[in-house]
Structures are given as C-alpha cells and as structure tokens.
C-alpha cells in the first residue's frame, strides 16, 4: 500500500507527462532530474526551505527548552495544567486555520496587529507583502505554532531524568551547569534529539502556511519547495517533473528518518549498557 504509489511516482519521474498536453507520456530518462538541477528558481526554493528549516528549528528549540524548563521548575504552580493547555493550543490548531487567522491578524488594513502598532504611535507594517518582512513573519508564525511541541518534548525529556539522580546531585550541591552536563543531559538528549528531528522532517514539508499567508510571494520570497511542487503538479500539471521533485523530497525525508532511527538505536544501546 505504501510502496506502490512511491514506485509509481519514481517511474513517472522518468517521463515527460503533462496532463494538459495532447501527447501521452514519453520516456525521457533523467531529463526531469537534469531540468530540476539546472532550474535556478527551484534551487533557490530548496535553499530557502533549508534556511527556513534551520532558523525555525533553532528558534523553536531554544524557546521550547526555556519554556519547558520553566514549567518543569514550576511543578507546583497554581493552575499548571490549565496554563499548559493554553500554551499547547497553537500546536493542535489546524495549520490552515492558523494561517488564515494570522493572515487576518497581520492584514495591513483590517488586522489587529497594525491597529495596536498605530495605537502605539508606530506606522503600519505590511507584514506579508513586504519583501524583507514576509519570510521572517512566516518563521515567527511557525515558531509560535511549534514552540509548544518542543516545550512538550523538553518536558518529556526532563521527566525521563531519574529523580534519585537529581536528588543526589542536589545533596552533593553540584553547581547547576554540572547538574545539566552530568545528570540531565545524558538522559534528556535522546528525546530532545527526536523532537528536533521530527520537527525538521515536518518543517521541510511546510506548505500550508506559505500557501495561505503569502502564496509564495512577494515575488518568490517565501516560495518553499513543497509549494513549488504543488504548483508543478496542480497548476502546470507537469506530473513527470513534479514527480522528480517529489523524489528529491523523498530522499531528504529518508535521510532525516535515517538519522532519527540512528538516534533511536543509540538510545537503545545506551539503555542496554546502562
């Protein structure tokens, strides 16, 4: 069930097959791949996707760890569960809905964000149509949406640290940096790594946010690879070419999954040794 569509896609990537063309599919070998490599716009879109991925993951991991530690330290705070529920909400909202309401919030004319900016005496900002701001705005929205996930992974990672070891460290009066490096990090690193990898795989496929909020614009400033793929397949109907791009995406996903499995195996080995 999983393999068949993949094989079909792999096969299609060697054909020149355009749905709107009167001629049928013709075998062209690796020409789709060569076109893909030569296409400067597409390589820009790939590099843009990697920049998006790296900046978004760094921001989400940093903030997620900070907030996760904040809630971990505050395990007796009043209304902790309710506060956590509120905090996790962005993560569970459908990405399309998230994109739509952020588009409404950031709208230069009707958006509430610009209303607050003008109330503070600042000038209006075109968050989604300014060529310098659109890409950072997307990263901010993605960070808002997925920081709770990284905080959740941090809480899970910190929860995996044995309490006895933490108590022993505090009895020994280990300084905080030593506690982190010798007690917390060895236990927490696997779950955190898995969180980062899962987010990386997901961030590489980001399409909904850009499609709804900016549609790849202004120009192609926010055109990520998944959006380009969508255009090739469902706007230009170039199914052969879109399949070649999909195969490339598939290999990236496989590479990230291989790292994911490697981390899982490393954890198993560490547990077996421990």
């Amino acid at each position: 069930m999983n393999i068949l569509p993949t094989i079909w896609m792999l096969g299609l990537s060697f054909y020149d097959y355009t749905l709107t063309s009167s001629k049928g599919a013709t075998f062209t070998g690796f020409s789709n791949y060569l076109d893909f490599v030569k296409n400067e716009q597409l390589s820009q879109s790939v590099s843009r996707t990697f920049v998006f991925l790296i900046i978004a993951i760094i921001c989400q991991t940093f903030l997620g760890i900070l907030i996760g530690v904040l809630f971990w330290k505050n395990d007796k705070m009043p209304g902790r569960r309710f506060a956590l529920t509120l905090f996790f909400t962005p993560m569970v909202v459908t990405p399309i809905a998230t994109a739509l309401f952020w588009k409404l919030i950031l709208d230069p004319t009707f958006g509430v964000m610009n209303y607050f900016l003008t109330s503070l005496g600042l000038s209006k900002v075109d968050f989604l149509t300014d060529s310098n701001l659109a890409f950072p705005t997307l990263i901010v929205v993605d960070t808002w949406m997925w920081t709770p996930f990284m905080a959740l992974m941090t809480l899970a990672a910190l929860g995996s640290v044995p309490k006895a070891e933490l108590e022993a460290a505090s009895v020994d009066k280990l300084p905080i940096h030593r506690q982190i490096t010798t007690v917390i990090w060895p236990h927490a690193k696997f779950i955190l790594m898995l969180g980062i990898l899962l987010r990386s795989i997901d961030a590489f496929k980001t399409m909904d946010l850009t499609y709804i909020m900016t549609n790849g614009g202004p120009g192609d400033r926010t055109e990520l690879i998944a959006l380009s793929l969508y255009r090739f397949a469902f706007k230009s109907f170039k199914l052969g070419y879109a399949s070649a791009v999909s195969v490339f995406l598939l290999f990236i996903a496989i590479a990230l999954t291989a790292i994911y499995l490697h981390v899982l195996n490393a954890r198993k080995k560490a547990e077996d040794q421990g």
Partner: protein, 64 residues
C-alpha cells in the same frame, strides 16, 4: 483528622513567585492570537472588519 490527610502534600502558600507569573504570562501570550480569533468568530459578520476593532460586540452574539 487522619495522619494521611495531614501528610497530604499541599501547594506552596504565600506570594506568587516570579517564575509562576512568567509561566502564566507565556501561556497567555501563546493563547492570545487564538483568543482573538475566537472573539472574532463570535462577532456579527458586519463588525469583523471594523477599524478600530470592535472588542465588545458580544451583544450581537449569534451563531451562524
């Protein structure tokens, strides 16, 4: 009162700590956009795009 009841761990009494305030502020900050959109969803269609935004239009509350 039984011994078990007296030994039940209780929440720390006293002034709310800075960390608690920070955690609550973070949660509210992350929830604000969703709260805003829920508020917008409850408004009548004609007031959704009002400038300045109409924050208190719930008297027209109606489920569409």
């Amino acid at each position: 009162m039984s011994t078990a009841a007296t030994m039940k761990p209780s929440r720390r009494k006293g002034p709310i700590s800075f960390l608690t305030l920070l955690a609550w502020s973070t949660s509210i900050l992350f929830f604000l956009p969703i709260a805003w959109i829920i508020g917008t969803a409850l408004k009548p269609k004609t007031t959704v795009l009002d400038i300045p935004p109409n924050f208190y239009s719930f008297r027209h509350f109606k489920i569409y």
